[in-house]
Amino acid sequence: MNEKLLEIKDSAIRQIKEASNLSALNDVRVAFLGKKGELTAVLKSMKDVKPEDRPKVGQMVNEARKQIETILEETKVKLEKEALDIKLKEEVIDVTLPAKKKKVGHSHPNTLVLNEVERIFTGMGYEVVEGPEIEEDYYNFEALNIPANHPAKDEQDTFYINDKILLRTQTSPVQVRVMERQKPPIRMIAPGRVFRADEVDATHSPSFHQIEGMVIDKNVTFSDLKGTLTKFVRQMFGDDTKVKFRPHHFPFTEPSAEMDISCFKCGGKGCRFCKGEGWIEILGCGMVHPKVLKMSGIDPNEYQGFAFGVGLERITLLKYEIDDMRLLYENDDRFLEQF
């Protein structure tokens, strides 16, 4: 009996080792441990064994079974792993094949710049506000200290609807509208479309965008204006941007200034981009004129503040090195998809 068992066991182990795949292995399992398997047959023949020998034989059979099962299991794990390895090998793909991509649209470059400007100023506590594009002469000019027949009205080449209503030439009227409805402290920026009677060419458009900014409080100073705008351009154009404030004149601010930044292309050495100047004019600004405050219902003896106006397209063209303003309004897909 013992010999027979040993023989079965050896034969099973040999056949297990010979099995080259999972199905062959399964055949071996059935051949020995299945209902009609050899080892099962031994168990079935227990009735022929003498009763006193039965426990011993039984134990021997179980041990043999255990050993076979253990080896079977080990072999199964091994063969499964081999099979998986083969499968993985077969499934290798060329990862450099093109991506399956849905075509995604792009924001207009003006919008990208505006988003940036809005992010910077909302971070400094400014509210983004809007005003009408078709505006009253009063808000566009008079309330900004540009009375009737002021030469500045001519300079701006205004589109008129009638004597009283026009297409706004600047976003500055929003300053007045905000001051009329809101008590200081005020911190606002007002982006929007403006219009001037300029013929279309590479550097002019009869319709473009400005971003107006204004801060009114009890102790807002010219030095705050300098600090705020310096912070703005450094966030916009980089920490090493140098700034220069030059005296200028706007009817609605006093003192007024123009701000130059060091050319971000050449860093100030002078290049084609900055016309050899090393500096790029970026915006106009100043302390809100006391007359403007007063006309808007704010007491200039109690409050003061600053305002500034940036040409959005000017920054867009500079930032993205676009050399023709007309591209911004043609909406050629090959242009837009670059942003």
Binding site: K103, G125, R187, P206, F222, S223, D224, P247, E254, M287
Partner: protein, 806 residues
């Protein structure tokens, strides 16, 4: 405004600086320099030479060999082809290694032309004698230079000295952007005063003396000003026995540097004074002035007048005229008349220096379409105090230059004298505005530089009359930092009460919408707000279509930009057309922009500005893709109710059978459709184009992010398929309405899975198949629950004439 730097330096003794230092410093103190151009930038090694000997070139008929004295020990030999060379001629000579500005054909060469010694037809030549063109100027500016050939210099030219400085070309011409508030800086004296203040030097203006003989001007002329508002001051003087001659070289050089052509002594003096003081003057032939009388008054409507350029001008009652006893002789401040102009036969001259109202001159000059040197000065609003001093300066020069005999006395009609204003001195206020800590004495020292007088008794600043821009504390504060230095002002951040940075909900929704449509493949376009009225025809709008009621611009750039858009469609179609024309495939664009809807026409109040989201596409995608995009937009802003589409939009520019109003919560908030093929062809687009226009105000109103969590249900779902035969005119939307109304609480969702028209379906019907999903929220559904719901639905469908398919 341009100035010669040499002239400025003459008025500011001790001003020593490089060109660049001058320009930078002036810009930083508020007189912005646009550019500086050196007249001699391309001139090098050019001296005055004298031709001592001229001999024929042995091998060239047209060349001569000259021996030229350039003030050195030896003569130099120069070969020239110039026809006008002669022995004894003084000429500009460029030496070996020098440069000239261009060829004798008048063409300038960037960087100049280098001159080297060499051989001309075998004969050595050690330099070149120059024409005026080669020196970078013109015979226009140098009337005494030969039209063709060398510039033969006057006798006073000193051999061996620099020809460049002799001709006044060693100068920097500085161009400034003078702002409209600084009328005083439209003059050499104004700029020089600023330069002196900027460099902390003394400003030395010319000393003006009133000259004149013992006669009395009042015996020659009487002046009456009828309109004192428009003529604030009128001064007149008389010069007798005028003798014309060229003006002296120093004056010619200065005028040339200012870009003014020298003409004769009389004209040059008026131009000189206009540059120097910024005060225009006019000269009349006294013999043409009838009645020895000048009357300043406005014209009559419809009057005509011939100006000295020979043009007939139509006048009106707002145009101020200078008249004599009988007739008009000049348009005040703009141009004199042909009838009184100075000719070479003039004997006695009447000089006028006046101050006219700037606005009136500006409007008249615009109306007449004539902007002259004089009018462009007057329209800025001159200081009336200038008139007499400028007049006297001119007469002084007349006498100095021996142009004529100045008659004693001046007529001066100046009823209301302009006085300078007085502003209280408030140093703390200036510092508070500026964020600086500048002491009082420093401020006063700045004032002194620009002739603002500080009166310690009254503690007031007395502003000179030419500074019409200084009126309040802020103006004075600007004068303080101009000289303190904008760059020295500290940089700080506002520290007051804190404020909240924010964007409006509307703006936030716009950003969300942009994100969504960009993810659907649409790129953002921007188009103009104004367009041509012809677009309405292009879009096939009916003659009485509401959208034709557009706001007109009174002064448009042209018809193409003359009305404010009432529809956003044209801009989109134009952009798509541009792309199509450039063979860009599968283009999807969107725009967020306003349309302008008048409340009445012509408008008397501001119109409604409505922001529209406009989607446009051609190439891949169809009507139902477009519907999907719209619904994605809605979903992204929390508009989760059912969107309905009704084919009643009736827009002419869309395909009559492929368009719909977009309805949300019962309100039409936009439209969608395929572009009418005729319209597409009007925009030169072949193939199908799809549009959707949504009203952003409605979207903002309906947008909400107020979501509430609903329990996720794990009970199993049961599906029922419904195959129907549906009359053709019944919309799928109508069927879905039945599902919504009658499906009951267990109907979770439904989905169209087949729609078919054709052979197996009877005429006038279509086959529509839906799969309906039922699920209980609190329990497992029983067969009965579903059957009840299905029965209700089927009853409803029957009402629409729908049958179940066998």
């Amino acid at each position: 405004m341009n100035t010669s730097l040499n002239w400025i330096k003459d008025l500011v003794p001790g001003l020593e600086c490089t060109d660049q230092e001058y320009m930078d410093a002036m810009t930083l103190s508020g007189t912005k320099v646009e550019q500086g151009v050196r007249l001699d930038k391309d001139l090098d090694k050019i001296v005055i030479g004298k031709v001592e000997k001229v001999e024929q070139h042995p091998d060239a008929d047209k060349l001569v060999i000259c021996q030229v004295n350039i003030g050195q020990d030896e003569l130099i030999q120069i070969v020239t082809g110039a026809p006008n060379v002669f022995e004894g001629a003084k000429v500009p000579v460029v030496l070996d290694g020098g440069r000239v500005a261009g060829g004798h054909d008048g063409k300038l060469v960037e960087g100049g032309v280098k001159i080297k010694k060499g051989k001309l037809r075998g004969v050595e030549s050690y330099g070149m004698m120059c024409s005026i063109d080669e020196l970078g100027s013109t015979t226009e500016m140098f009337p005494d230079a030969a039209e063709d050939g060398l510039y033969i210099l006057p006798d006073d030219a000193v051999v061996g000295e620099s020809a460049v400085s002799y001709l006044g070309l060693d100068d920097l011409i500085v161009e400034y952007e003078v702002t409209s508030n600084r009328v005083d800086c439209f003059s050499i004296l104004g700029i020089a005063r600023e330069a002196a203040a900027t460099f902390d030097k003394k400003f030395v203006p010319p000393v003006v003396k009133e000259v004149g003989n013992s006669e009395n001007v009042n015996d020659f002329i009487k002046v009456r000003v009828e309109n004192n508002d428009l003529c604030k001051r009128y001064t007149a003087r008389v010069v007798k026995n005028v003798k014309f001659a060229p003006s002296p070289k120093w004056m010619q050089n200065r005028l040339r540097a200012q870009g003014i052509r020298p003409i004769n002594n009389l004209v040059d003096i008026t131009n000189y004074v206009m540059e120097e003081f910024g005060q225009p003057m006019h000269a009349y032939d006294l013999s043409t002035i009838s009645g020895n009388e000048i009357v300043v008054n406005t014209a009559k409507d419809g009057d005509e007048f011939v100006t000295l350029d020979g043009q007939t001008r139509k006048l009106d009652e707002n145009i101020l005229m200078i008249n004599d006893g009988e007739k008009p002789v000049g348009i005040a401040g703009i141009m004199g008349g042909e009838n009184s102009m100075i000719t070479e036969n003039v004997k006695d001259v009447l000089f006028e220096a006046a101050c006219f109202d700037g606005t009136n001159i500006r409007l008249s000059s615009k109306k007449l379409g004539m902007r002259t040197d004089a009018s462009s000065k007057f329209e800025k609003g001159l200081d009336p105090n200038l008139a007499l001093v400028a007049m006297n300066r001119a007469c002084q020069l007349i006498e100095e230059l021996g142009v004529g005999e100045v008659v004693g006395g001046a007529i001066d009609i100046y009823p209301v004298k302009r006085e300078g204003v007085k502003i209280p001195f408030e140093p703390e206020k200036y510092n508070k505005l500026l964020g600086t800590d500048i002491d009082k004495d420093t401020m006063i020292s700045y004032f002194k530089k620009i002739d603002l007088v500080y009166n310690a008794q009254t503690n007031e600043i007395e502003v000179p009359s030419w500074r019409q821009d200084l009126l309040c504390d802020a103006d004075i504060a600007e004068e303080v930092i101009r000289f303190y230095g904008y760059d020295k002002v500290p940089t700080t951040l506002p520290n007051g009460q804190s404020t909240t940075g924010k964007i409006s909900f509307k703006h936030y929704i716009e950003k969300m919408v942009k994100n969504t449509v960009e993810h659907c493949g649409f790129s953002q376009g921007m188009t103009y707000s104004f367009e041509s009225p012809k677009v309405f025809d292009k879009l096939l709008l009916d003659k009485d279509d509401e959208s034709r009621k557009a706001i007109k611009i009174a002064n448009p750039l042209g018809e193409d930009y003359s009305i404010m858009r009432t529809l956003s469609v044209n801009g989109m179609m134009t952009s798509l057309s541009t792309n199509f024309g450039r063979r860009n495939q599968n283009v999807r664009l969107y725009e967020l922009g306003n349309v302008y809807l008048p409340k009445q026409l012509p408008i008397t109040e501001l119109p409604d500005e409505k922001m529209k989201l406009t989607l446009g596409m051609y190439g891949e995608g169809d009507f139902f893709d477009m519907k999907g995009f719209i619904e994605e937009v809605f979903e992204s802003v929390g508009m989760r109710d059912k969107v309905e589409y009704s084919p009643e939009s009736k827009l002419n520019f869309l395909h009559p059978g492929r368009q719909a109003n977009v309805i949300y919560n019962g309100e039409v908030i936009g439209y969608i459709g395929e572009v009418h093929p005729t319209v597409a062809s009007n925009y030169a687009i072949k193939g199908r184009v799809y549009l959707a226009v949504l009203d952003m105000e409605s979207i903002t109103k309906n947008a909400s992010f107020d979501y509430k969590y609903k329990q996720i249900v794990n009970f199993p779902a049961s599906t029922r398929d419904l195959s129907m035969v549906v009359p053709k005119d019944v919309l799928v939307g109508d069927i879905e309405k039945i599902f919504d109304q009658r499906g009951g609480k267990y109907l979770e969702s439904y989905k169209l899975f087949d729609i078919y028209e054709g052979e197996q379906i009877k005429e006038g019907f279509k086959s529509v198949a839906y799969s309906l999903v039922f699920r209980g929220k609190e329990k497992n559904l029983e067969e009965n629950d579903i059957t009840k719901a299905m029965k209700k639905i089927l009853n409803g469908l029957e009402g629409l004439g729908i049958e179940l398919r066998a």
